[in-house]
């Protein structure tokens, strides 16, 4: 957990859960597992608020608690992790992916679950159906059963999972180990409970506000049971990440080679989706025959062409696809981890290129390929004049993108008798870049907050005028009155609002897109951790 990560987490928490939660959250991040008393004491926030914030953090899965380390009877300790909080940044992408895979229903299910942390299936289905009904035209409504079938599909494909049963929750005494249970270790993780929920989404009528609210109250009061009480569901981020990884590989192949080869890789990935474990370095070997049979007929790829494509993919320097054997017309695998490493390397190269120019990128690539080079060799191989090459090399060195390795001929490290070898270490560089990305996002958020703070008055004014307009329209005012109110915002103010909107959109968009880089680098770093350890 670095300072950058903690800073970003603090900002994200503040934006989504408010000031107090952010304070408690960052405190927990900085100081590790702590019990309630210590938190209250060290943050200086009132007991009530700390409790509430911890509830929020636990509800959203950002905080785990366990019985104290000091044996049974010691106070419960709370712990947060950066990883989970940083996922907030990716929420739009999860929702969007759910939309592309499962349509509007899937989108709303994921959105609701992300907003609420965890929910029971019945309440999710109800809210989603209500929301969908709201958006439908008059007289139509969404059936609960449709939503619940979409929900089941999401569970089947492991995009949703049950919350692990909390050890030590509810009951005071518990002798479970301090390690929090992982959802996967729980056998019923992907089992949809039997749920009795019949009906259709209800439309909220905006015209009869008072009555409507009373109805809502009533609905809340009657405690129907649907048979799935106490079974809560959460979004399985890991599954989404696997999907993102596959998509990244497919689109990389499409960009590098062509559409057809990307479809072949897509088929291979889909075939091995179930059989490959999430941390595997490559997919299970698939024979060319199997691949051919599984290719959708719409692609119109003949068998000999498939073979040609496969050899082309194997020969490609990016090594997305590897050959594992000769049997069955050739056994092929998708090198998942190597693909991630190569994609991360490409990211590093393009960062160097965009920051320091293409000639620096040439030096960087040269070092990546040749591993260790002396300064003279760099100048020669890169075919760049000595003075400029030196300048670029030192700039890269000072930015920590290139490392210097001293190899002394004699033990006294005398410069005249020492080799100075330049090298690029991909993993540490990727880590550094990842930290830079976190910093970037935090800066983007700060900037956005600054921008909206600067024109706070203007924003409030426009909101106020909108409110007045709405109330006037509701009371049936004359059009002249309306235009009069509208004109309270002057033309320059309108212009200012417009440019503010453009700026904020740009900053938000940038956050989303930096997160794509973050995802790639994170997966690469994680993949090296699992393959070595």
């Amino acid at each position: 957990m670095t300072a950058q990560e903690v800073r970003l987490c603090g900002l994200l928490l503040r934006e989504h859960f408010g000031e107090v939660v952010a304070k408690v959250g960052t405190h927990l991040l900085r100081s590790g597992a702590q019990n309630l008393r210590t938190i209250i004491h060290e943050t200086g926030i009132s007991l009530d608020l700390v409790k509430k914030s911890l509830c929020v953090l636990v509800q959203h899965g950002t905080c785990v608690f366990s019985a104290g380390r000091k044996g049974p009877g010691s106070p419960t300790e709370y712990q947060t992790s950066c990883d989970r909080i940083l996922r907030i940044l990716r929420y739009p992408r999860y929702i969007y992916t759910a939309k592309t895979l499962y349509g509007d229903t899937g989108e709303l299910i994921i959105e609701e679950l992300l907003q609420r942390g965890h929910m029971t299936m019945s309440s999710t289905v109800k809210t989603v159906a209500d929301r969908l009904t709201q958006n439908m035209e008059e007289g139509r409504s969404m059936d609960y059963s449709e939503v619940s079938s979409a929900f089941s599909k999401l569970v089947e494909t492991h995009f949703l999972q049950r919350c692990p049963p909390q050890a030590g929750a509810g009951t005071k005494e518990s002798s479970t180990p301090a390690t929090p249970p992982t959802p996967e270790s729980f056998p019923d993780c992907y089992k949809v409970p039997h749920m009795t929920l019949i009906g259709r989404g209800k439309r909220q009528l905006s015209s009869e506000d008072g009555e409507d609210q009373r109805n809502a109250k009533k609905a809340k009061l009657d405690l129907e049971t649907h048979g799935d009480e106490g079974i809560y569901w959460q979004v399985n981020f890991e599954r989404f990440h696997l999907h993102f990884r596959d998509q990244a590989i497919i689109s990389a192949v499409a960009n590098k080679l062509d559409q057809t080869s990307s479809e072949i890789v897509r088929t291979m990935l889909r075939m091995s989706e179930v059989t490959t474990s999430p941390t595997a370095t490559c997919t299970k070997p698939l024979s060319a025959n199997e691949i051919f049979r599984s290719l959708p007929s719409s692609y119109n790829i003949a068998r000999p062409i498939l073979d040609q494509y496969l050899t082309l993919l194997v020969d490609d320097p990016m090594e997305f696809v590897g050959k594992a054997g000769e049997s069955g017309g050739g056994m092929y695998v998708v090198n998942l981890h190597r693909a991630l490493a190569n994609l991360a390397r490409a990211t590093l190269e393009s960062v160097v290129q965009e920051r320091f120019g293409s000639r620096s990128a040439r030096i960087f690539r040269l070092l990546l390929r040749k591993r260790h080079l002396e300064q003279k060799q760099v100048e020669d191989f890169a075919m760049i004049p000595a003075k400029e090459a030196k300048d670029m090399l030192y700039t890269l060195l000072s930015q920590n993108l290139v490392q210097l390795q001293e190899v002394p001929k004699t033990p006294d490290f005398a410069p005249s008798r020492t080799f100075y070898l330049y090298t690029v270490n991909q993993l540490p560089t990727a880590r550094m870049l990842l930290q830079n990305c976190y910093k970037t996002v935090a800066n983007l958020i700060e900037r956005r907050l600054f921008e909206s703070r600067e024109s706070k008055r203007l924003l409030e004014k426009s909101q106020r005028i909108e409110a007045i307009l709405a109330s006037l329209q509701a009371s049936g005012a004359e059009p002249e009155q309306l235009t009069e109110v509208e004109e309270m915002i002057t033309a320059p103010e309108k212009q200012q609002l417009e440019s503010l909107r453009v700026h904020i959109n740009k900053l938000d968009s940038a956050e989303n897109q930096v997160d794509e880089t973050i995802f790639l680098l994170e997966s690469y770093v994680n993949s090296t951790a699992t393959s070595t350890g």
Binding site: E15, V21, T76, I95, Y232, E354, Q375
Partner: protein, 212 residues
């Protein structure tokens, strides 16, 4: 190291061996470094497209809803703060603040909010003065007054003086009290009113001002 002294270029080797010539040493820095580093290369524009636009909308919507959910905990607001005009209009968009009741089976027991018991402090019971008691008091005072009248030996001036003194003290006290009130806020509250009843209060304001 000790023999070389400070501030002198203390290289144990020939610098030129590293390829740093006399002319290629960096110049001395004058003045502070710029606020932002100048970038040689302009950043590439952001990706734009339907996907990106939709994700942007999702992000902004998400942020909006999260801020309105009961999970967003506000710090205890300062009640004493002046209610601003804008808040009247912004209020209705605030909070669909349905109470959020977590399933306590999933949370540690200690996080449950404690029911606040109405605190009963024995000592601070407000004294309710019954009518009967006041009546008794008044009767007593009347009796005392009659006694006073019955004792004309005590000179009238004395009593008058006493009352005067008392009055004076009271006045002083009152003045102090007023000042206290004014000093608490550092400004006169009535001076910064909303202006609705400006005319009625204006005289007082003038007085208030004059004390400073």
């Amino acid at each position: 190291m000790a023999g070389k002294g400070r501030g002198v270029a203390a290289f144990t080797f020939n610098i030129e061996a590293l390829g740093i010539g006399r002319g290629s040493m960096p110049e001395a820095r004058v003045g502070p470094s710029p606020l932002f580093p100048n970038t040689d290369f302009k950043p590439v524009p952001l990706k734009a497209g339907e996907d990106e636009d939709y994700m942007l909308a999702l992000k902004q919507e998400m942020r909006g809803t999260m801020q309105r959910l009961p999970h967003n905990i506000k710090p205890q607001s300062n009640k004493a703060e002046v209610e601003r005009y804008t808040e009247r209009y912004l209020k209705h968009r605030q909070m669909e603040d349905e109470e959020w009741i977590p399933d306590w089976n999933l949370f540690p027991k200690e996080l449950m909010p404690q029911k606040k018991k109405p605190r009963v402090k024995a000592g601070t019971k407000r004294k309710t003065v019954s009518r009967k008691e006041t009546q008794d008091m008044l009767n007593k005072l009347d009796e005392l007054a009659k006694k006073d009248e019955g004792n004309p030996e005590k000179s009238d001036d004395e009593t008058e003086k006493k009352t005067r003194n008392e009055d004076g003290e009271e006045e002083i006290e009152e003045e102090e009290y007023e000042e206290d009130i004014e000093e608490e806020n550092d400004y006169i509250e009535s001076y910064f009113d909303n202006g609705e009843d400006f005319a009625a209060d204006s005289d007082d304001n003038m007085d208030g001002e004059a004390t400073y």
